[in-house]
């Protein structure tokens, strides 16, 4: 978290401990803080403040959007359209709705990780009540054509949700321009606290609350407010908005340097996701013949923290569902590494990665039985698929 965010949160933890629902002066002060936080978050999204519902994070916002919109319209239809590369907060909420009798279409993506608007148009039926397509994918960083989808959804009168957890604060996000009815965001992705997020709900969009209680958040998300978290979110949103343009330019340059550097210094490596339709700081690569976790361990030993789409890091047997949906073969998906550049990263950091990574790759490849076998073609991806 950013120190400025910690400072305002501390103030609410130590001095400003009031409950915004109380009438006394301490409570009124808290109410003022809550209103300000809502305004700041709303400004970042181009929304009126009253359309922002605070939640316990991106996961809850996604659940509230998907289930809330489905339940509210179940007399209208039972069909939902989403994509195969959503975050599990959306995917598993859809799975739950399937168990409850809703029908869900999971749109495929191209090798670049982007859905086709034609596929979407084809999937829409008279029963379709909700479309949920993420703005930016959390693993590969590709940007979906949300405006185009928003236009279609609005013309057809279908509720449209986007999970913007990965785009807010990284690229411009404006609920009017995107033509969305529901949009999820999360504080910790913009250097705010964990466990805080929000759902934008356009005026007139119906959602059924998932929990019942007091009257907070206009009854759509009751419960006494997490004040330190919310003011921290507000502060983080304010800073993100102020710095957005400059930070985008800076990170895009760094990202390009990193991608170019990797592609030119390591052979048999590929970039995952669209080459340019991606958020500024996102790099996801697959390095053939070696496995992701071992690359991460190598990087970690050098003080570089990355993540991987390999099964070994996710605790399941399958590698990333996103890479598989993009048609990346299993053994190549296992060798994927995701590097995220953020506000603390500098050009020296990128140069350091470019110095260290090729050495790690060389060492691991020298241990790998696959680098040798490639010439024997014993390990073609086709054969692999048949194994599975």
């Amino acid at each position: 978290m950013r120190p400025e965010v910690v400072d305002v949160m501390n103030d609410y933890l130590i001095n400003n401990w009031g409950n915004p629902s109380s009438v006394h002066s301490v409570g009124r002060r808290a109410k003022k803080g809550l209103d300000e936080a809502r305004e700041l978050v709303a400004s970042l999204l181009g929304s009126p403040p009253e359309n922002i519902i605070f939640t316990s994070g991106g996961t809850e916002a996604d659940n509230l959007a998907v289930k809330g919109a489905a339940y509210a319209q179940k007399n209208k239809g039972n069909h939902i359209i989403t994509t195969s590369i959503e975050h599990h907060a959306v995917l598993d909420a859809c799975k739950q709705l399937e168990n409850e009798g809703f029908e869900v279409t999971y749109l495929p993506v191209s090798n670049d990780g982007i859905i086709s608007v034609e596929d979407l148009l084809e999937a829409i039926t008279s029963d379709t009540i909700l479309i949920s397509v993420m703005h930016v994918n959390n693993e590969v960083g590709t940007i979906q054509p949300i405006e185009e989808i928003g236009k279609i959804a609005r013309e057809k009168g279908i509720t449209f949700h986007t999970d913007a957890v990965q785009s807010v604060g990284k690229i411009p996000v404006n609920v009017e321009e995107l033509q969305v009815d529901l949009l999820s965001a999360s504080a910790h992705k913009i250097y705010g606290p964990k466990g805080v997020g929000c759902l934008y709900v356009r005026k007139g969009t119906k959602i059924t609350p998932l929990i019942q209680g007091g009257g907070q958040e206009r009854k759509r998300r009751p419960g006494t407010e997490n004040m330190p978290g919310l003011v921290g979110f507000g502060k983080a949103a304010k800073l993100a908005l102020e710095e957005l343009k400059a930070e985008m330019e800076r990170l895009t340059k760094l990202r390009e340097k990193l991608i170019e550097g990797i592609l030119s210094s390591i052979d048999e490596v590929s970039l995952n996701g669209h080459r340019t339709l991606r958020i500024p700081g996102a790099v996801n690569i697959s390095i053939k013949y070696i496995e992701g976790e071992s690359i991460l361990l190598g990087l970690d030993a050098k003080g570089i923290y990355a993540s991987s789409g390999s099964a070994c890091t996710s605790g399941t047997l399958d590698p990333s569902h996103v890479l598989l949906a993009m048609g990346v073969p299993y053994e190549i998906a296992h060798g994927s590494v995701r590097m995220t550049l953020g506000r603390d990263n500098t050009e020296e950091d990128v140069e350091y990665v470019l110095e260290v990574l090729p050495q790690i790759v060389k060492r691991l490849r020298s241990m790998s039985p696959l680098s040798r076998e490639k010439s024997e073609r014993a390990y073609s991806s086709k054969e692999h698929y048949q194994h599975v």
Binding site: E291, A301, C312, T313, D318, Y330, S368
Partner: protein, 124 residues
């Protein structure tokens, strides 16, 4: 996540590589899981005189392969066949629970290599 001993074997793996004209080769692996291990052995007078490995896989996969080659070297084939995956994990001071299954296959690869040798020699 991994203890020091595992990290040591990952960072300084013993007996990495291949043997020229090995007496036995064993390969196990699971592409879904993302681990492939290959063990090469040289046998003299029923004893594993030399052993090397190549592994595609996570930190645990590399460390188990490495420690296994230490355990098997200079053992008789009968002794080597008694080495099992649990013994390999124990020799490393334990592995995280989710790594016990798919990344701990080195002993199987060794057994495959010994079987390969025996088949070639028709000693079974």
């Amino acid at each position: 996540m991994y203890n020091e001993k595992v990290m040591d074997h990952f960072n300084n793996p013993r007996n990495v590589g291949e043997l020229e004209n090995p007496d036995g080769v064993g390969k196990v692996g699971n592409p879904v899981c993302g681990d492939i291990m290959k063990i090469f052995i040289r046998v003299e007078n029923n004893i594993i005189k030399d052993i090397k490995f190549k592994t595609f896989g996570c930190g645990a996969a590399i460390a188990t392969s490495s420690v296994l080659t230490e355990m098997a070297k200079n053992k008789t084939l009968q002794e080597a066949l008694k080495i099992n995956n649990k013994m390999v994990a124990d020799a490393l001071g334990g592995l995280p629970g989710n790594k016990m299954h798919c990344s701990n296959l080195a002993a199987n690869a060794l057994h495959e290599a010994i079987r390969d040798y025996m088949q070639k020699r028709k000693v079974c």
